[in-house]
Symmetry: C2
Subunit: 349 residues, 2 copies
């Protein structure tokens, strides 16, 4: 198997991390890049993503140019530009038209047929026609609160109810994340932020719940979501935000999936700065009520940025090997770290 | 999709449990059974497996008869007769020749090409020729100490070392398990039992380690195993065995995988009766040293019998959908509980 030739579309914190990870992996090669920031266009990809060496790949302003510069034989795009299917749809279509497989970390693309069934169908049809595969992934949605839960139920005779929580620390993140999670606001500002859409909480609960339900054969008849402020009792501070007692340290986002009127899936994602200051232990928690009961915990939580970068890159071989079409994480073999030389991998299939 | 028609080969504790589970699942139907115990042959399958109803399926003494009795259109065999590839090989060949897909819980079949590369190749070739799929699975090997570890590394940029432990309680098991784990022996008897092969400990560490290594692209150059007695400090007792202080309460089995002389995979499986009496907390533990580190725990452990029964039955749809040939758990989509009606499942593929 030859090297897999990758184009990076979107060079923010996530996309840039993927460039650095691909540079470490044998059998993967970055052959093109697309950025919208004018300061990045025209420069070397290694340079703009903080690598200590040049990659010999010039950052382009659009994908057609990047594909052509890669000699028209790139294999796959890592797409890290936005969160919603509607936003990335034209980019995915452009990539498919260019004959490229697509892995995107757009949260809604973890299960796009839920909110955008028509766009999902169009992506699926075009991907099949062009013989490429399109996958949405990331730490969450894409792994901790969906695929991992699905896999764990494989050891159960029966599942009655699923509860899971991802309790994380937002302290390392920048001003944009503070804003969308409402960190540093007053309770009144938080309420207004939710109403006017500037505070969004987590994106992906309906997608995760639907992916779980479809995989195990449940039919959800209703999904509810709640977002409430995490009011701090203590002073909390990061380089980007100060939270005084009585102010908002983060957003507790809860998703609830109902079947026959009964709450069968509950996903919780309280995101805040410095949860340690109030004795909150961060971690990923999965409880399955069934036969047998399961009680999984990973402490501390898998860091979101690293996990998302890892999953996007680690899924490349599975996407390359998959049948054409639009797929979810539940359709493909389980993810796995890439530690060997992919171009030497035998593969029995 | 029509119902999936299942033949049960082997009706012991595991095989019998699979019959009872299949009876609960919509879209699966038991259409045949094979037992070697003469007292079971000729009787109704529901009756001999402790169901409260007859299944209208007569237990056969051999598979040819069972296949014919099922009207020659069975889809898959659940094979629960033995632990080693060499033992189940003729049965697997017979099933493939009859056009049946095969799921077996024979431990070595989790990764049969390790110890029986020639038999594995023959199984693979014949399965491809006949258009069927053959899978080995179970709680361990097959899930906790291999597939689950593999899946978790998917969230890692890099993996340096893997350690995992499955600390379980043997108290519910019968006299056969007590014997193969050396429970109730003196330290001297334990030593002799290891030497003469009557005490075996866990079967499957080399298979699990090789499956992990292949999946993430490591090449192990050496695998070592240790089995040592767990000497009890206290009186422990089950309906089948008594352990006095100074006697053996179980077997601590350790597997070590080396790459370039460095121990990169360590799997531990201390199996004993009543670990609680000495304050040992049972559970499934996975630690990955890498970027990031992972620290998973499931307490208490997934019960081995339930988990094995569940995985064998839950993998049926994935095996039916897979490409023909011999596969491992790492080749297929992640397992998942079957809670819906499989005969109604849409499936985009």
């Amino acid at each position: 198997m030859a090297e897999i030739r990758v184009i990076h579309w979107g060079l923010g914190a996530m996309g840039g991390g993927m460039v650095r990870l691909v540079a470490q992996k044998r059998g993967l090669r970055s052959v093109g890049a697309v950025a919208k920031t004018p300061q990045k266009v025209g420069r070397d990809l290694g340079e703009v993503t903080g690598l200590d060496r040049k990659l010999g790949v010039k950052v382009s302003g659009d994908v057609t140019e990047a594909v052509a510069a890669a000699g028209d034989d790139a294999d796959l795009v890592l797409l890290s530009t936005a969160s919603f299917t509607r936003e990335v749809y034209p980019q995915i279509i452009e990539a498919i038209e260019a004959g490229l497989n697509v892995i995107t970390i757009a949260e809604e693309m973890a299960y796009p047929s839920l909110r955008e069934p028509q766009l999902a169908r169009k992506i699926d049809e075009l991907a099949r026609k062009k013989g490429v595969t399109v996958l949405g992934t990331g730490i969450n949605p894409g792994f901790i609160l969906d695929l991992l839960i699905i896999a764990l139920t494989g050891a159960c005779l029966e599942v009655k109810r699923i509860r899971a929580a991802r309790i994380n620390d937002l302290s390392p993140f920048g001003p944009m994340v503070m804003k969308t999670q409402g960190v540093g606001t007053t309770p009144e500002e938080f309420k207004r932020g939710l109403e006017n859409g500037t505070i969004v909480g987590h994106i992906g609960f309906p997608e995760s719940m639907t992916m779980i339900a479809e995989a195990i054969g449940w039919e959800l008849d209703r999904i509810e979501q709640e977002r409430e402020p995490i009011i701090s009792k203590v002073h909390r501070e990061t380089p980007h935000v100060k939270v005084e007692p009585g102010m908002v340290a983060g957003c507790r986002h809860i998703g609830r999936g109902f079947m026959d009127g009964r709450e069968v899936i509950t996903l919780e994602h309280p995101q805040q700065v410095h949860p340690d200051l109030e004795g909150v232990e961060t971690g990923d928690y999965i409880w399955v009520e069934g036969t047998p009961d399961l009680n999984f915990a990973n402490k501390p939580e898998i860091p979101g940025g690293l996990g998302t970068i890892a999953l996007a890159v680690n899924m490349i071989p599975a996407v390359m090997a998959a049948e054409p079409g639009l797929v979810t994480m539940a359709d493909l073999p389980a993810p796995r770290a890439i530690m060997g030389d992919l171009s030497r991998a035998g593969g029995r299939r």
